[in-house]
């Protein structure tokens, strides 16, 4: 009896720990659960972080250095006038449901995204498109109404992945793409499981058999799950104060990389006293960015002087334009008529970086005679309503995580209430410019205008605090786009 019990127990323990075999599964932790798995119909970044590159693929992809690389399109030509893009597609590519991928799917996907009824979060990607032609199954010709310098880059975003007419409607709950992993299951509130796609067109490229994304919002719980070995990697740890410990721990690799998240304290430019550029500059002079980063993000993060990511090749360092200089700040305030002090408020979302930054800013402003009242605001619900929609605020603070989003300062009716026609024209011009050097020069000019005009207080670039098992390789250290691309990940033993 006892022998039989022992045998059964042994058998059970063997079957319960398949980890004895070479490890080929990966568990990735994320702070926020995606609300669906279709990046082409909703905005949340978490959707892209699960699905982009892993489940869905675009005509092109953005690599870990932010460069455009071929993907479903093996090559392309651009006409000399920059208006016609001819893409040559890979053949023999199949969607996860077995249907074939061809030029018709590209036309379908882009027409669906630019339809007036579409809820695609980045419709401007498709705005320049005039027509899409499919001369044969392996060729797509896209004609533009006007030149678009970032068109190829945009096609690498999650909003422009290729979906099929047979499956698109169900993608939010049951995603079907052409990627190296297939959707297996989604336990809502807990995890999404993906398994290797045996029919993937890039044979043998991917080493992992399965990937599980687990959603853990509490930062203490994130750290506990990593330490307990429940998850293998947390590409974006939300607890900077706990990150340094992982850096010391040989079991983990902890890398502070870059994201596209510009953290800014937006000001209501239409409201007094922020309609006066001297006040805006004074507030910028009052902020010691280094000290702010130390306090708000444990020293991780890069100071910024304008609204551009240091990740981007067109980035120019503008932190010196309005440096930390409390005396200058006081002088400017006096000049603007606020020599006897000024009282303003900041609506602060509950994210740790936001509330900590606001507290530090309050202390720094006090040094130059400005009283800053902190008003905690629930994010996203209340913040979107009060600040974003109704523009009922003085100052606020939030990190803008979309890549290449300097154009938000050119948008009408955006929450900053910033109006600058020169800037607006410049951004439109830059978007049309196809010559890279010329486009970068225009972006540099735009960055300078913002740095001098200070429509928002430019604070710091959110870092990407990645922590993963030291035996894991191929994870991304930076995120030039919001992505958890695990197609190159593998275990060393």
């Amino acid at each position: 009896m006892s022998k039989r019990f022992l045998a059964a127990a042994l058998l059970l323990s063997v079957s319960a720990f398949p980890a004895f075999a070479a490890k080929s599964s990966l568990v990735v932790g994320m702070p926020i659960e995606p609300p669906g798995l279709d990046p082409t119909i909703a905005a949340p970044v978490a959707i892209r972080e699960v699905t982009l590159a892993n489940l869905y693929e675009g005509l092109v992809r953005i690599d870990r250095n932010g460069k455009v690389q071929p993907l479903l399109a093996k090559s392309w030509e651009i006409s000399p006038d920059g208006l016609t893009y001819t893409f040559h597609l890979h053949e023999g590519v199949k969607f996860h449901d077995g249907t074939a991928f061809d030029s018709g799917d590209v036309k379908f996907a882009f027409d669906r995204a630019r339809d007036p009824k579409s809820t695609n979060a980045q419709k401007q990607i498709f705005a320049p498109i005039d027509s899409i032609e499919t001369p044969d199954p392996a060729t797509v010709v896209i004609k533009l109404k006007e030149t678009s310098g970032n068109f190829l880059t945009y096609l690498g975003w999650g909003d422009a992945v290729i979906v099929a007419p047979e499956s698109a409607a169900g993608n939010a709950a049951n995603p079907v793409g052409t990627g190296p992993f297939k959707f297996k299951s989604w336990t809502r509130g807990d995890k999404v499981e993906l398994v290797r796609n045996p029919d993937y067109w890039q044979k043998d490229k991917v080493k992992l058999e399965s990937v599980t994304f687990r959603f853990i919002s509490d930062s203490q719980a994130q750290v506990a799950a990593l330490r307990a070995g429940d998850i293998d990697a947390f590409p974006n740890l939300a607890a900077p104060e706990l990150f340094a410990e992982f850096q010391k721990d040989p079991r983990f690799k902890a890398v502070a990389g870059n994201t596209e998240g510009e953290t800014v304290a937006g000001m209501n430019n239409a409201k007094k006293p922020f309609d006066d550029v001297r006040v805006r500059r004074a507030l910028m002079h009052a902020i010691d960015r280094k000290a702010l980063i130390e306090g708000a993000y444990s020293g991780f993060g890069t100071p910024i002087g304008s609204f551009f990511s240091p990740n981007n090749p067109a980035y120019v360092d503008m932190t010196g334009v309005i440096p930390y200089d409390p005396e200058k700040a006081k002088a400017l305030l006096k000049e603007a008529g606020y020599g006897n002090g000024l009282s303003i408020s900041i609506k602060t979302p509950q994210m740790a970086y936001a509330s900590r930054s606001a507290e530090l800013m309050a202390a720094m402003f006090a040094e130059v005679g400005v009283e800053l009242k902190i008003i905690p605001t629930e994010f996203p619900a209340k913040w979107i309503e009060e600040v974003f929609k109704n523009k009922d605020y003085d100052l606020t603070i939030v990190s803008h995580t979309e890549p290449l989003d300097i154009d938000i300062f050119a948008r009408d009716n955006y929450y900053f209430n910033y109006k600058n026609d020169t800037f607006k024209a410049l951004i439109a011009d830059a978007a049309r410019t196809t010559d890279e050097k010329a486009r970068f020069a225009k972006y540099a000019q735009a960055q300078k205008i913002l740095a001098e005009d200070v429509p928002a207080l430019f604070l710091f670039q959110l870092p990407k605090l990645g922590v993963w098992n030291a035996k894991l390789q191929g994870m991304w250290e930076n995120s030039p786009i919001p992505i958890n691309d695990v197609t190159e990940a593998s275990w060393t033993e």
């Binding site: 007036p116 853990i216 979107i384 929609k389």
Partner: protein, 315 residues
Amino acid sequence: MLRLITSRLISLAVTLVLVSLAIFLILEVLPGDPAAIMLGTAAREDTLAALRQELGLDQPALVRYVHWIGGLLHGDLGTSITYKMPVSTLVAERMSVTLPLSLLAILISTALALPLGVAAAARRDGPVDRAVLVFSQMGVAVPNFWIGLLFILFFSTRLGWFPAGGFPGWEAGLWPAFQALLLPAVALALPQAAVLTRVTRSATLEVIAADFVRTARAKGVKRGATLRRHVVPNALIPVTTILGLQLSFFFGGAILVENVFNLPGLGRLAYQALNQRDLVVIQDIVLIFSGLVIVVNFLVDIGYTFLDPRLRSRA
């Protein structure tokens, strides 16, 4: 009797309709447009309008309310705005975590509280009594999410005996699922156990002082037997009442504990839905909880009339 039940059922239905209206109106005045939240800072006028139309948010409030109630009458809880799937499926999935979690917590709480409370009362002011009082004092003071955090630090991170959170699902087997639920259930149970211990202790003390116990002892019944046969059964009546009242606390506490342990339960769904302003989901969950409370009250009412004949004639 039948007339009583019918009249109670009618007032039950009226209460539920009033509750549903109240929930709907409260959510109407709560700031936060679900479509705007979905689109966040990427929102543009045209996309926002398209999404509002897709979600049916462009309809007037009255139409949406009637639509919701109409669906409920057909057993249709509606579709979640964020997950874009039937709320009934979502709720059923989450119930499979929250229900076992609460039941386990109730079991643990009762298993701890009853013996401790009786033991403390049996030897009043003795060392056991004093220890129990200290324990219950602490239990009442320390919130359950904090206990949860300590458990994770010690049992999961330090000792590695339990997962640090999450739920493998019942399909992973009974033991892994139980393992994932045990720590959160204990964290959930301890504060309630502390309250219940105090109630049991004082109820037991009250019965010990009663005449019939003195009579029993005087007739020579042994101390242990008196406790078993006379004191405990009588003390259980107030204890059961408190236990019934505690049910709602278990659900409330589940929201916090599920968040700490990252359990995909109903409490966490409610929390998430509130953050995202997933109106349909919040409406349904609040209605389900209120419905449970109202139905339990109804059953208690009916139960009392069965137990106490005097109430029957009055009705």
